[in-house]
């Protein structure tokens, strides 16, 4: 039995009333840290090298003579610098990270250990294929899992992130249309609630993007979509579950209609974590779907990457997938299909998207996670993620406006709006106050179809006690916003920084550090 079922509760924080500022600017464990350019110098190094002459003379008369301007630190100083910086970050290791439609789940450390096995970490992408059979085996085994979990026909493993995967899927569609002699289909339909990468990707590939409206219940307007289909429509890009947290229950009907009209269905699989093991997109008529390995299969996102975006493909699109890819023979030997063999083996491939084989380090981690959970565990993952999101939705529907609460159960995320807050208060005030409560805020102002959207995605990583604590915090903050508590407008109060001036940053961009003017000139 848990000792404290309501979760940890901090005592009321002491403000700095009557307490002098510190000499250093530090506040005990909260340490200010200067830039490496301010604390390092060009003579210090934290790396020892063997002694010896390094005279070299074959640099084509381009030998460097002037300094580059790179500061160095000793090893202890380096460890302190980055450790101090790390402590200014929130992370899933510290608590809930409910960034709807993006988010992170727990990153198991077994994944990290496996990715660092020298047999995976210390092999070169251009080694002869006979010397990397185990690495190709990882790619192949993960590919088989992704195909079976999605009920699709093939998978392109090389895309480097979700948006790169979207591009891969859209290029497959373009190649398929051209092969059919229907390159004139120029329109891609994208729902208003889509991630920004969807229209950006379609536009990059030369398509014209047209919005599809959402219904009042937060789903794609199927009738409007069907009415727009025609000989100029190349594809529909649908996120499922969508960014309102809802399952697109008409997806099969939409797919059938799109196919009948000669188009293809691209599914943004960012939210596949909600349905893995529960339903296979291939059974809903999807032609291409990227999977963000960090989101569904627990690879770390490291402050904004690396990602990894394998794309599962239908039978119709598989022939067009990118190079390189693996092929396993009956005797177990795995080979790589690259430019060399493409004409014989994969003549319709649209080509290469990246220099090598994709995000191998992420494949190792994702496969480790998948094997840990197995088919039964992955199903449980989806169920727990959806249960947690519904628990948050129902627990807070009495406090916050939940525009789609009547649209059926939510999937992986719960959506709220800023309706009902006191005049002048908005989603950002709730978000910043949650920081003070020790939580990462939810996704703010996205999707655009909900005013002041707050998109909360807990994932399966959270315990019930953890959810209860978060619900309590969000309720408390929401009540304060409804009551017009002015202190919310200046939150966060306890973070390493108060609200940062983004307008200033954009107006006069300072993107690299520059030596300050000499003191004599700067004075007065």
């Amino acid at each position: 039995m848990a000792l404290n079922q309501s979760g940890w509760r901090p005592s009321a924080p002491q403000q700095g009333e009557g307490v002098a500022a510190t000499h250093t600017g530090n506040k005990a464990l909260m340490l200010e840290e200067a830039l490496i350019f301010e604390i390092g110098d060009e003579h210090t190094t934290g790396v020892d090298f063997a002694p010896g002459d390094v005279a070299g003379s074959r640099l084509g008369n381009l030998t460097r003579k002037s300094p580059i301007g790179l500061p160095g630190l000793s090893e202890p100083e380096t460890v302190r610098h980055y450790t101090r910086l790390s402590r200014q970050n929130y992370a899933i290791d510290l608590g809930l990270f409910p960034l709807g439609s993006c988010t992170m789940k727990h990153n198991p450390r077994l994944n990290e250990r496996m990715a660092r096995l020298p047999g995976f970490a210390d092999i070169h992408p251009l080694q002869p294929v006979d010397t990397v059979q185990g690495a190709l085996g990882v790619i192949n085994e993960l590919a088989v899992w992704l195909i079976k979990l999605t009920g699709m026909h093939g998978v392109a493993m090389s895309p480097k992130a979700g948006a790169h995967g979207e591009l891969c899927g859209i290029l497959c569609i373009k190649a398929a249309l051209e092969k059919r002699g229907e390159g004139h289909r120029k329109v891609v339909l994208v729902p208003e609630s889509a991630h920004g990468t969807n229209p950006a990707t379609a536009a990059f590939a030369g398509f014209t993007v047209e919005d599809i409206p959402a219904t009042a219940e937060g789903r794609v307007d199927t009738e409007a979509l069907e009415a727009r289909l025609g000989p100029d429509v190349a594809a529909v890009m649908i996120t499922n579950p969508n960014t309102c947290g809802l399952f697109e229950r008409d997806l099969k009907r939409i797919s059938d209609a799109v196919h009948a009209a000669g188009g293809y269905v691209y599914c943004d699989g960012a939210n596949f974590n909600a349905i893995v093991g529960k339903v296979r997109p291939g059974d809903l008529g999807v032609d291409a779907m990227h999977i963000n390995l960090h989101k569904t299969f627990s690879t770390p996102h490291g402050g904004g990457g690396p990602g990894s975006g394998p794309v599962v493909l239908s039978e119709a699109l598989s022939p067009f997938g990118p190079l390189p890819f693996t092929e396993r023979y009956a005797d177990g030997h795995i080979t790589l299909v690259e430019e060399e063999s493409v004409d014989d083996r994969h003549p319709d491939s649209f080509g290469r998207m990246t220099a090598f084989h994709g995000q191998m380090g992420m494949f190792t981690r994702a496969l480790t996670y998948i094997l840990s959970h197995g088919a039964d565990g992955l199903k449980q993952v989806a169920e727990d993620a959806v249960l947690n999101a519904n628990y948050i939705l129902r627990s807070l529907a009495d406090t916050l406006d939940a525009p789609f609460a009547g649209s059926g159960p939510c999937m992986h995320e719960a959506i709220f709006s800023d309706a009902g807050l006191a005049a002048g208060f908005s989603t950002i005030d709730i978000a910043k106050a949650l920081i003070d409560e020790g939580f990462h805020p939810m996704t703010m102002y996205f999707p655009l179809v909900v005013h002041g959207a707050m998109l909360v995605e807990p994932t399966e990583t959270e315990s019930k006690a953890g959810l209860d604590q978060f619900i309590g915090a969000l309720r408390s903050v929401a009540e304060r916003a409804k009551a017009g508590d002015a202190s919310l407008k200046t939150a966060p109060h306890f973070a390493p920084r108060s609200r940062l001036d983004e307008t200033l940053a954009a107006r006069k961009p300072v993107l690299v550090w520059k030596e300050p003017a000499p003191v004599a000139e700067a004075a007065e």
Partner: protein
């Protein structure tokens, strides 16, 4: 299930709270005929940490580890020693398990690191600014070509034969869809680069010239005449650096007036990892910053006047501009950028220059030794830590034969340029601080036997 905190009791309680009779009641919107009623058939069930570790270790053992054999592969990915503290620090949970810094007040660690990274990269490449990273060098390269099109409003890019063939391949893929016209060429197995031909090819329709430095065969050429020729026609010079350690030994492309410099940052801090994740470097002149792809971190102040950092100029990006964005890129390579930046901080100017010196000296010794093998000719006049040998016969089978003997000899041009007979005898050999003289001797001996 070790990663799932909910107990059966919790689940029952929570279902009661939300008034759902059972878990499948939450999946009612999934069409009934598509709902799966149990774990997907034919896939294994959950496994212990020990069992998974055993399975993965068995796969890992089927690979020849670079560090365990004489190893000379380069051609866009290089083996360098990475200090232990780099890997320790990037595994700090606050770095490893943070998401994109959308809430800057609680992401200053990542943001300050990115600001430092941008500055380090800009200084190394010799550009005014650099972004917070791209996926890798090859994708950074085609993004640069697209950026040049936006800036010059012209659609013809001239790619040097010395550009990595996979980078050319990626650019060709993308050009099919963007309508860019690419002029490409194969390299020649000689000491001469194609700089003069590139200069002659630039015309009033040219958006950019793309040149790798040092190039795919390891050759180093002065880019200043090319920059002048490009600028005379109002075209841009894009330089590609696949081995940033070289910047410690030679003048950077930015210092030679390149307009956009992109690179593969893998060789500093990241490791080989069978090709990814790597970290794309992207720098340019100040005046082009608003046409850059990717995230940018900028300095600002907080409400109390303290220095802080935020993601900025995001009106270029897809989450604001949607179909009008400069690129569809969202995720970058933050954790690899961190590894790069930590390693670079440990090295510092003094360390980078010493490391570069050691690499070049080792490569000079190796080139001299290998050129003494009967039948082998050194192609390059100039190189940094990578050069090309002409073996006098097809290199690819020799690379395979040497691999069977436990020597990873290098990258054959036959692998990179299948079907190009004039290049088939070429072998690219990379020599870094991790290659010992004994390793070089082992390669020389094995080559001698194979060519005898």
């Amino acid at each position: 299930m070790r990663y799932l905190p909910l107990t059966g009791h919790d689940r029952t309680d929570m279902l009661a709270t939300i008034d759902a009779p059972h878990i499948d009641a939450l999946f009612v919107d999934v069409p009934e005929e598509a709902r799966l009623d149990g774990p997907i058939h034919g896939l294994p069930l959950h496994a212990s940490e020990m069992a998974v570790e055993r399975h993965m270790t068995r796969l890992a053992r089927q690979n020849t580890v670079a560090g365990e054999v004489p190893f000379f592969l380069g051609a866009g990915a290089y083996r360098h020693h990475v200090p232990a503290s780099v890997d320790h620090l990037i595994q700090r949970g606050e770095f490893l398990t943070a998401y994109t810094p959308y809430q800057p007040e609680i992401a200053q660690g990542t943001l300050q690191m990115l600001f430092e990274f941008q500055t380090q990269v800009a200084r190394m490449l010799g550009t005014d600014v650099a972004n917070a990273s791209m996926y890798d060098g090859s994708t950074a390269c085609w993004e640069a070509i697209g950026m040049a099109r936006r800036i010059t409003k012209r659609g013809k890019a001239i790619l040097s034969g010395g550009l990595h063939p996979h980078y050319v391949s990626v650019a060709k893929t993308m050009a099919k869809y963007t309508g860019d016209q690419l002029e490409t060429a194969l390299p020649t197995l000689s000491a001469d680069t194609d700089l003069d031909a590139l200069i002659a090819a630039i015309d009033d329709d040219t958006s950019c010239v793309v040149v790798q430095y040092p190039d795919i065969l390891g050759r180093i050429a002065d880019l200043r005449p090319l920059a002048d020729a490009a600028h005379a026609k109002k075209a841009l010079l894009i330089a590609v650096v696949t081995e940033p350690v070289a910047m410690g030994a030679i003048v950077s492309p930015g210092e030679m007036d390149a307009d956009i410099v992109v690179g593969e940052g893998q060789s500093i801090g990241v490791g080989l990892q069978f090709g990814g994740p790597y970290v794309g470097l992207f720098g340019c002149k100040d005046k082009y910053v608003r046409q850059m792809p990717g995230r940018l971190c900028g300095e600002t102040k907080d409400a109390d006047g303290r220095r802080g950092f935020v993601l900025t100029l995001s009106t270029r990006e897809q989450h604001i501009r949607r179909e009008k964005a400069t690129s569809n890129i969202c995720t970058n390579s933050g954790l690899c950028a961190l590894a790069f930046s930590i390693h670079m901080t440990l090295l510092g100017e003094a360390g980078l220059r010493r490391l570069a010196g050691i690499n070049h000296a080792a490569a000079c010794r190796a080139a001299d030794r290998l050129a003494k093998v009967p039948g082998v000719t050194l192609v390059n006049d100039s190189f940094f830590n990578e050069f090309t040998l002409d073996l006098g016969r097809e290199a690819r089978p020799i690379v395979r034969a040497l691999a069977d003997q436990g020597v990873l000899a290098g990258v054959s041009l036959g692998r990179l340029y299948p079907g190009a007979d004039a290049l088939a005898n070429g072998l690219i050999v990379a020599v870094t601080e991790t290659s010992s003289d004994d390793d070089v001797e082992a390669l020389a001996t094995a080559l001698e036997a194979a060519l005898a």
